[in-house]
């Protein structure tokens, strides 16, 4: 009787194990056959950021870390196992709106997290074509990290490179340059771009405010003051050119014409020891004496 019982329960156990193995391996096989198995575009990040913040409670920082990691895991190539047990990389289709939502949600929870804006900058404007969206992420990062010059610098880069607005880019570079520990090339680059984009007055104001915080002993003082002087020269010529246009109803062809017409009393001094040059479009250069060629 007891042997029969043992055999019966053993058989029942075997049937149950068989069922379990069959169903689970069938499920795994089915998932493997799906494209991008396990990578759903639905998730907590599809909720409004306020709801995510409510769910995260006091663990908002950890949730932000998770969302950033989740976005990172969905980017780049994917490594898959071949039937012979080796690994190979496959390119996958990236769902950019989902990636963007992940970064926005992460930033809502932790607006100061460097990883979020840095990784997003590496992908969204380049591969995802989401320049405007990226600028919004960088603006939030700049507000959340007032000690960090990089978000504003990256905004300047995107404005110049993707949006092709050198004047606005220059202003952003100059803004970034005012943040402590910003690299010394930023004010010079910013001033150049701002002037090139017709923002000479703004560039001068920002350069002046930066010089006000420095002493002549600072290593970059001379560079900044030379650039300020060059910009002031450019501004003087631009003003004379505007006056010329108002009087003669046409653009001046060169700086010499401004001098001979009396609109410009004397050519301003250029700290870079070359002559200022004005091209046919009226753009003034302090470092391209042969701009008319």
């Amino acid at each position: 009787m007891s042997i029969r019982r043992v055999v019966t329960s053993g058989l029942v156990g075997l049937v149950l194990v068989g069922l379990y193995v069959a169903s689970y391996s069938g499920l795994q096989h089915h998932r493997r056959s799906l494209p991008d198995a396990g990578e759903s575009s639905s998730g907590i990040w599809n909720l409004s950021p306020v709801i995510i913040a409510a769910i995260a409670g006091e663990f908002k920082g950890l949730m932000a870390d998770y969302l950033t990691l989740e976005a990172g895991a969905r980017l780049g190539a994917k490594v898959v196992r071949t039937p012979d047990g080796k690994y190979r990389e496959v390119k996958r289709r990236i769902d950019w709106p989902t990636i963007h939502r992940l970064y926005v949600a992460s930033q809502y929870l932790d607006p100061s997290f460097e990883q979020t804006y840095t990784v997003a900058q590496g992908w969204l404007p380049w591969e995802g074509g989401m320049v405007r969206e990226m600028q919004a992420i960088l603006r939030t990062a700049a507000q959340g990290r007032p000690w960090d010059w990089k978000p504003t610098h990256l905004q300047g880069f995107n404005t110049y490179y993707f949006l092709r607005q050198p004047g606005a880019a220059g202003k952003l570079f100059l803004e970034a340059a005012r943040i402590p520990n910003a690299p010394s090339f930023l004010p010079i680059l910013g001033a150049r771009l701002a002037q090139k984009g017709g923002e000479t007055a703004a560039a001068i104001v920002l350069m002046r405010s930066m010089l006000a915080d420095k002493t002549p002993d600072d290593p970059d003082y001379d560079d900044l003051s030379d650039r300020l002087q060059a910009l002031q020269g450019v501004q003087q010529i631009e003003e004379a050119s505007r006056k010329f246009q108002a009087v003669f109803a046409r653009m001046a062809q060169s700086i010499d014409e401004l001098l001979t017409s009396g609109m410009l009393a004397t050519a301003p001094a250029n700290p870079y020891k070359v002559a200022y040059c004005m091209d046919k479009a009226g753009i003034v250069y302090f470092d391209q004496p042969d701009c008319q060629k």
Binding site: E58, G61, F113, Q115, T118
Partner: protein, 272 residues
């Protein structure tokens, strides 16, 4: 004098009972695991490693503290009733408020011990990360801010503990008390968020234009989000001693008020 002695004995016995539950050993094991976990998790990131490490450490403290309140604290309170130990205590010259306050203080001591153990272990792993990756040390990071954040974390947990004692004082079943405490914790964590959404958002749905209701609720529920200083500690953002003092005052006054109400309700509770 006698009251104080009774309170002291109750506090001490509750604390020892908690330790006898092997909870402290579980906490020590958890602390070691979390220390290792902190190192592993931090290395998943490429930037702001210091922030990730500090936030993980403080979150671990918060999470463990919640486990202590929800499971150990409430189990100990429930055990007193279920194993009829409460009759033994109340048959002595101990009033109900002394019983509740003694239990509360004992559990708060366990929470403090857990916070210190986990805080130190988190600090060790954080120090390792900060030392290994000096480029990612938050610009104004200070250990004083970390200790202040840890202390306010404990204050927040003490408030949750007071809520659990309050719920226990009137709930018919320990599970109901647990559920009510968990709901109050969730509401308390989001009180500030809700207040902000209603006050700053014209499209707050059914809550639109009901600022006074939300403000009223924020006076009833514990505003636990005020005690969450992980962000400040992680980015080295200073918060003043005055704020900490005010937080302490808020936590103590709210907890004592709840305990007073709990004593009042507990007298009416059917103990048999």
């Amino acid at each position: 004098m006698h009251t104080l002695r009774s309170l002291y004995h109750l506090t001490l016995s509750t604390c020892l009972e908690g330790i006898r539950h092997k909870a402290l050993w579980a906490i020590v094991c958890l602390a070691m695991l979390l220390t290792l976990g902190n190192l592993a998790v931090t290395l998943l990131f490429t930037w702001d490693l210091g922030k990730v490490s500090i936030e993980f450490g403080l979150s671990a403290v918060a999470f463990t503290g919640l486990l202590v309140v929800f499971f150990l604290g409430m189990k100990m309170l429930a055990d007193d009733l279920e194993r009829s130990r409460i009759y033994l205590l109340l048959s002595r010259p101990i009033s109900i408020w002394q019983y509740l306050l003694g239990k509360f203080l004992g559990l708060a001591l366990i929470l403090l011990t857990a916070t210190v153990i986990l805080g130190v272990s988190a600090a060790v792993s954080m120090q390792y990360v900060l030392w290994s990756y000096p480029a990612f040390v938050p610009p104004h990071f200070s250990w004083l801010t970390y200790v202040m954040a840890l202390f306010s974390q404990w204050l927040g947990l003490v408030m949750v503990l007071a809520v659990s004692v309050f719920c226990f004082s009137f709930a018919s079943q320990p599970f109901v008390a647990l559920l009510l405490t968990a709901c109050t914790y969730l509401a308390g964590q989001n009180m500030e968020l809700l207040r902000r959404v209603v006050l700053e958002n014209a499209y707050a749905g059914v809550l639109s234009g009901r600022e006074s209701l939300v403000i009223g609720l924020s006076w009833i529920f514990p505003n636990l989000s005020l005690f969450d200083k992980k962000y400040a500690a992680a980015y080295g953002l200073a918060f003043s001693g005055q704020e900490l003092l005010l937080l302490t005052g808020y936590a103590l006054s709210y907890s004592l008020l709840l305990l007073w109400l709990a004593a009042f309700l507990f007298k009416r509770k059917e103990l048999a």
